[in-house]
Symmetry: C2
Subunit: 313 residues, 2 copies
C-alpha cells in the first residue's frame, strides 16, 4: 500500500498514549500495497505496524482484527492486533479508523520455489480449518455483485476482444453450476506480497483486510493463480503440485471441489483482472501509487480457459 | 526449572496433534528454573515453549495464562499462550497440566546496568496498570500463611541467630502496620532470569506462574531486591535509582507506599529466603536440580534492616 495519510511525530506520539507500548523509538511509512496507509512503528515494547484504513469502514474492522487474533492465538504466524488501554483494537486517527498490530519477521519471496509453495498451501489449509472455530461472519465484498458492477465501469475502456472475454466470464460467475462445497473464512488475497519467509520457514501472513466468508476453494484458487503462474499465465507444474500437496496435508478436498476447479480458478482470476482494471482506469490520489498490471490476470484467466490441471480429491 | 518429566518424540508429536502448529521440527529440554518442566519446541509455524506443570494445579492455570494473553494482547513483550483446536490453553500431558506458549527472543542479563534496570522498572509498572483491566483474581500462594508454615518447617535447621531473625521477620509480616496501598495483579517473581533483552531492549518477560493479586509495592520490592542488590545484599544506588525512575515513568507512587517501603522490602526478602531454605532442606527429585542459595536473601534481608533508601513518592 502507499502512504496516503501523513502523520506528524506529535500526532503519532499522541496516538500512542492510548496504548501501553512505551515511548516511540522509530517510525517510517511503508511503501507497499494499494489500499491502506501503513507505518512501521518501533516502541520500547517492540516492533509494530500502524495501519490507517483509507477505505475500510469501522463496521468491518472487528471481523478482520478478531480473525487475526484468533489465528495468532492458535499459533499461526499472523500479526496479533494490539488492544488499547480500554481494550479496543480499532481507534480513530486523523478521522479514520486505525489499528496497531505486531510486526512479523521475514521477507517476501517474489520468485518462490516448490518448498515455499508447499508451505503456503499448508498454511492456507490451517487457516481454513481454524475458521471453523471463528464466530464472525462477513460476505465477500468482491463477490458477484461487485464483479458485475465493476465490469460495467471498466468495459468501455477495453478492446472488443477483451470486452467479450469479460462479458463471458461475468456471465459464468452469475450462473454457477451448483456450489455445494465447503465454505468458511477465507483470506481472499494470499498473494506473494502478503507472506513472509525466513529462508524456507513461513514466518508471516499479513493483510487480512479482504478476509470474508466464502468458498474455501476460491481461496485456494486465488493463491494458486498468484503463486504458481509463470509470466505467460500458465501454471508451473512443480509449483502447482507443491502448493496443492501442502494444502492437502491439512485438509481433504471433496470430489465436488475437483469438478468445479476450473470454474473457481477463472472466477479468482476475473476478480483481480477486474480490480486492477478499475484501479488503472480510476486511480486514487496518493503520495506514492502502485498500479498493478491488469494484463497479468488477463493472461492467467486465458491460460486457465485453455487448460486447467486436475485437482485430485 | 529442571526437566522433571521426560517425554518421547512420539508423545510430543501426539500431543501437538491437538494444535494447529504444523509438523515438529526440533525440541529440547530447558535446563533452568526450579518448578516446572520446560521444552523448547520448534514447529513449521514457529518457536514455542511447552511447559508441563509439576506442582501447579489445573485450577490456577487459567489465571496465569489468561493474564499472559492479556498483557501480550496489549503489546507487552510477554509470551502469548497457544490455544488448541478446541480453544483451550491448558491440556493434559503425562497426567499433568501442560501448556504451549510462544517463545520470546533475547537473553537474560545477569549483571544488569542502569538502562536494564530502568527498562525493568518501566515494564513492571506497565504490567501493574494493565492489571486494572484484567478480570481474574487469585490470592498469593506465598503469602503470610505460607511464610508462617514454611518457617515452622525450616527453623530447626538454622543457627540460633538465624532462627531469631526468622522469627522476628515472620512476626513483622503477621502484624502489618495498616496497608492501605494499591493492590492489583503482580508478577511476584520478576527476577533477572525471568526477563530477556536484546542489547538494551527488553524483549521478554516470562514465568508468570507466581502471579497473583497482592500489593503492587510488594512486586516492586521483589524486583528491586533481585535486580539492584550487590553480593553483600546492599542496594547499588545507581541501579536502584534507575529501576525506581523507570517504574515512576508509568505509575505514580502514593505517599503511604513510601512510608512502608522498608517493611515491604523485608517481606519480599523473607519470602525468597524461606522458599530457598525450604528447597534446600527438602529437595525435590529431578533429573537436574538447581538449588538456589538461601544466604543471598538472608544477606539482602539483613541489609534492608540495616538501611533502606527513600522511595520518593
Amino acid at each position: 500500500m502507499s502512504v496516503y495519510t501523513n502523520i506528524t511525530l506529535q500526532e503519532l506520539e499522541g496516538f500512542l498514549k492510548n496504548y501501553s507500548l512505551g515511548a516511540l523509538l522509530h517510525h517510517e511509512g511503508i511503501n507497499a500495497g494499494i489500499e491502506n496507509t501503513n507505518y512501521f512503528v518501533t516502541t520500547e515494547n517492540g516492533r509494530f505496524v500502524l495501519t490507517i484504513f483509507e477505505e475500510v469502514g469501522f463496521d468491518r474492522l472487528p471481523y478482520y482484527l478478531n480473525f487475526m487474533a484468533h489465528l495468532s492465538d492458535h499459533g499461526m504466524p499472523t500479526a496479533h492486533p494490539i488492544a488499547d488501554l480500554q481494550g479496543n483494537y480499532v481507534l480513530v486517527l486523523k478521522d479514520k479508523p486505525a489499528a496497531i498490530v505486531r510486526r512479523l519477521e521475514g521477507q517476501n519471496v517474489l520468485t518462490p520455489n516448490a518448498r515455499h509453495c508447499m508451505a503456503v498451501g499448508h498454511a492456507l489449509a490451517q487457516i481454513h480449518l481454524l475458521g471453523n472455530s471463528f464466530n464472525g461472519m462477513q460476505a465477500n465484498p468482491r463477490g458477484i455483485a461487485w464483479a458485475e458492477r465493476t465490469a460495467g465501469r471498466v468495459s468501455h475502456k477495453l478492446s472488443p476482444e477483451d470486452q467479450q472475454l469479460l462479458e463471458q466470464e461475468v456471465h459464468l460467475r452469475k450462473h454457477p453450476l451448483g456450489l455445494e462445497i465447503p465454505q468458511g473464512v477465507v483470506h481472499a488475497d494470499l498473494f506473494r506480497d502478503n507472506v513472509m519467509f525466513k529462508r524456507h520457514a513461513l514466518t508471516g501472513i499479513i493483510d487480512f483486510y479482504y478476509a470474508c466468508n466464502d468458498y474455501l476453494l476460491y481461496d485456494l484458487a486465488v493463491t494458486v493463480n498468484d503463486w504458481c503462474s509463470d509470466d505467460s499465465g500458465e501454471l508451473d507444474p512443480e509449483l502447482y503440485a507443491a502448493l496443492i500437496k501442502g494444502y492437502r496435508m491439512e485438509r481433504t478436498l471433496h470430489p465436488r471441489e475437483a469438478e468445479i476447479w476450473e470454474y473457481m480458478l477463472r472466477a479468482a482470476a476475473l476478480r483481480f483482472w477486474l480490480s486492477r482494471l478499475h484501479d488503472q482506469i480510476y486511480p486514487k490520489d496518493g503520495e506514492i501509487t502502485h498500479i498493478k498490471d491488469p494484463d497479468v490476470f488477463k493472461r492467467i484467466l486465458q491460460a486457465r480457459i485453455r487448460h486447467t490441471p486436475e485437482l485430485d480429491s
